[in-house]
Amino acid sequence: MAKSELATLAQEIRVNIVNCISSLGVGHIGGCLSIADVLAVLYGKHMNVDPKNPKMEGRDRLVCSKGHAGPAVYSVLAEMGYFDKSELATLNQSGTNLPSHCDMNKTLGVDMTAGSLGQGLSCAVGIAIGSKLAKDNATIYCIVGDGESQEGQIWEAAMYAGSHGIDNLIAFTDYNKLQLDGYVKDINDLASLSAKWRAFNWEVFDVIDGNDVEQIDQAITQAKAVIGKPKMVILNTIKGKGVSFVEAAKVGSHSMSVNAEQRAQALAEIRGEI
């Protein structure tokens, strides 16, 4: 997919996110919008997956360790054709296949259950080891939240993957600088995040604009070429990116309500009509 097409895909993912969350009226919209671009680049260009054969052996896999970004993952999966877009409106409705947090046993295309923060990266390490043993050349991707990086288990996984040079693992930090209770730097600062990952023997790529598909694409392409180390791509993102009132909500965007009027405004903004 060319750059313009990836940008269009990211736009469609954002449309889906807004539709998905506004259908319920409330949800984790900020942290979903911030990763729309990396999801577009992964599914639009880099991931070896087949929506018609979601359990394909040897496929690349994504673990969304920040499991509350489920609606963002469902939005890209629907866009890719794993299931009908109309299903997005069932988010969190009784009996839905689309729960607030990612569930591999409910949603076609979701490779790992996540929601209790800090656990997904360990699972991704396990999957990466499994792929190595199977010699199937899959690449395993994992999206970690910045607030989530306060969990100790993230660093247990980081240490093991770095220590054993698990190089079919590419992780991302959604570094949007905000968490539920406030600014990450005020609550428990991740300062020198790149240096931390380097110290754990990961190859680190700092993406200055983590919402720019071209910069993300470049980082993933470079990351794939690195042999002998796991890779961390730090995405400097904006929480709520693409919808002005969500961006403006800052800390309040972690989980917020979106009414019909706001939905119309959001969709117009995303489509560039405002």
Binding site: S116, Q119, S122, C123, V125, G126, I129, A157, Y160
Partner: protein, 312 residues
């Protein structure tokens, strides 16, 4: 002689045999591989016997990831660190995600001996028992464990094995039939039923022998699988004798006593007395001292039986 066989040797021999014939079987340790005996497998299967270091949560997560890829990982640690320490990883990454991970926790209850209170789990079964679909099994002896392990690996889904490393007294004959999901009536009787697990099975049998001299005819039911509990066998025995004593090397809250009482209260209300740890933390000591300290001796079982008979 099977009496001389360590449970950990049974476990390691089984894993070795499985790993030789099935390249999906894996074992993960967290710096206690020397204690579990699995260190030998790290040399024999360097790709599939992993040591993650002192990071049990990561071990559980890696195992979950491997399971999602079709592997059958066994994770091992001392029982408190294989359960209490990683309760949320067991709950979410393993059980909620329906992963096929086998959890081996060694040195249950007073078997932790000189490692003392920090390492002496009386709460592990209670913590895991409310997680849906997990199987909780406490082997009685090496004979039984040998028969249980093939059934455990065949069972698709998480299993917690609360395993002694050493060799508790052998109470089963080598030709016994064993079904992971059935309790076993080791001794038939008509006056009182003792339902026991782990090292307390031998204690219950000894108590039954003592009580025979006093003309009290005790039935001993060995219930190594605490979840799902074999309700049928327990109800049948309780209806026959009309009184029940539970015996376990665990807190009476949340463990075997709770499981048995739940079954009886709903199906066959029966007077119950319990032998087990009551509102106490562990402490250092050798098994004879700890049995006394936590009232896990034959005399405690005898006393409970005599008490429960008066309630009939």
């Amino acid at each position: 002689m099977i009496q001389d066989v360590l449970m950990r040797d049974v476990f390691v021999d089984f894993l070795r045999e499985q790993m030789q014939k099935n390249d999906k079987v894996m074992v993960l340790d967290a710096d206690l591989a020397k204690c579990a005996g699995t260190i030998a497998l790290e040399k024999e299967f360097p790709d599939r016997a992993l040591n993650v270091g002192i990071a049990e949560a990561n071990m559980a997560g890696i195992a979950a990831g491997l399971s999602s890829y079709g592997y059958i990982p066994f994770i091992t640690s001392f029982a408190p660190f294989a359960t209490r320490r990683i309760a949320d990883q067991i709950m979410i990454s393993i059980c909620y995600a329906k992963q096929n991970v086998k959890i081996i926790g060694t040195d249950p209850g007073i078997a932790a001996e000189l490692n003392g209170g920090t390492h002496m789990p009386f709460e592990d079964i209670g913590m895991l028992r409310s997680i849906p679909n997990i199987v909780i099994y406490e082997p009685t002896d090496a004979v039984e464990l040998k028969k249980a392990l093939p059934q455990i690996i065949e069972h698709k889904g998480p299993v917690y094995v609360r395993m002694h490393r050493k060799n508790p007294a052998v109470v089963h004959s080598e030709d016994c039939e064993f079904n992971l999901f059935k309790a076993d009536v080791l001794r038939e009787g008509k006056d009182v039923t003792i339902v026991a697990s782990g090292i307390m099975v031998e204690t219950a049998l000894k108590a039954a022998e003592e009580l025979k001299a006093e003309n009290i005819d005790v039935e001993v039911v060995c219930s190594p699988t605490i979840k799902p509990i074999d309700a049928e066998t327990i109800i049948k025995s309780a209806k026959k004798t009309g009184a029940v004593v539970t015996c376990e090397n665990h807190n009476v809250m949340g463990g075997l006593r709770s499981a048995v009482c739940e079954v009886l209260a709903e199906n066959a209300p029966t007077p119950v007395r319990s032998v087990g740890v009551k509102e106490k933390f562990g402490e250092v000591g050798k098994v004879p001292y700890l049995r006394k300290a936590f009232n896990l001796e034959v005399v405690d079982v005898v006393k409970a039986v005599k008490e429960v008979i008066t309630l009939k």
